[in-house]
Subunit: 203 residues, 2 copies
Amino acid sequence: MINNKDISAEEKILNAARRIFENKGMSGARMQEIADEAKINKSLLHYYYRSKQLLFEAVFKTAFNKLAPQINLVLNSDQSICDKIINFSNNYTSFMLKHPYLPNFILQELNRNPDFVKELISIDNFPNIINFKIQIEKAVSEEKIRPIEAEQLFINILALNIFPFIGAPLLKGFINASDKEYKKILNKRKTEVAEFIIKSIKL
Amino acid sequence: MINNKDISAEEKILNAARRIFENKGMSGARMQEIADEAKINKSLLHYYYRSKQLLFEAVFKTAFNKLAPQINLVLNSDQSICDKIINFSNNYTSFMLKHPYLPNFILQELNRNPDFVKELISIDNFPNIINFKIQIEKAVSEEKIRPIEAEQLFINILALNIFPFIGAPLLKGFINASDKEYKKILNKRKTEVAEFIIKSIKL
DNA sequence: GTCTATAGCCAGATAGAC
DNA sequence: GTCTATCTGGCTATAGAC
């Protein structure tokens, strides 16, 4: 039997762990730091999650499950290509402005441990390009958009939307922007990115 | 007086450290692992570089100094906008196919420690958007390209070229590509990316 | 310059009282 | 479930012989 206090402790830990892991990664994070962030005794971390590795995996899967549905809207919804591009660019950027460390965290850990993707693929709703590929090939053959491979277009859509968050520290430096100015630039991208892509693929 | 053997040891360490740090990051790397990779006694790492932190900084600055000139070709060379986009997309992708972990390594560590950018900015030849901004504004006012802000275009150019390397593990999963197939896709991007951008900004 | 041995510290994990 | 105390191992860094 689990009472309210238990749920609260487990969730406090998971949220604290998310903040610390997103910032420092698996190897840079300290269990003590997570405990402090959660305002909870360090032993309780082990009581609830057994080990640092298991706590990390819980955080990682939660993070990935936030990202996957967004990608699936591009790959598997029944919107038109234009609507997908417009909606995804708008929604994804809005979402990321609230969770700016998420893509960096996920990609960082996957680069460090590429085999982890294999585990993720078996999960329900792991994004897959097949339907999108059919949609693009159809649109090309019907001359609704210029000839372009679905894989290249898909990579472009993700690149234009995700990179501004991953590359933020560097981009801020290159373009001489304060945090506030950079946030403004990101906000503009909610519509800019879709316009950029659509202008490129229209006939 | 430094003889050949010294130089060799120092370089062996730096190269080994680069490989390990690029893979595991500062906090995930172990001095013993770097020593093994360099086939050298662990004490020598401290003899030559004093501490892990200093060794890391040497590796990081070397890496950044490889990246910066490439960015400066876009920002500060006197090529036309089209030539810049075509040449950068081609050269950068060729370069990154040889150093695929470089952008991930740099962005990872900058995200973990954003203040580090401030140190980099003081370095000679730190990329700056000013000249590029002038060039774009001129081209827009002369109606050579459609209206677009220099910052947004610059972010797009970097995003389309860099993200496919940082996001590789995830993208491979989404588009069901083997390492070999993904490499083929990246190779195509040497020309695809430039085409995609130019189609979007032409009038 | 290169090695072995070890100091000194810190992190993850557990034992056990309450 | 929650706490304190502590074990155990691994890591950076250094001392000191050669």
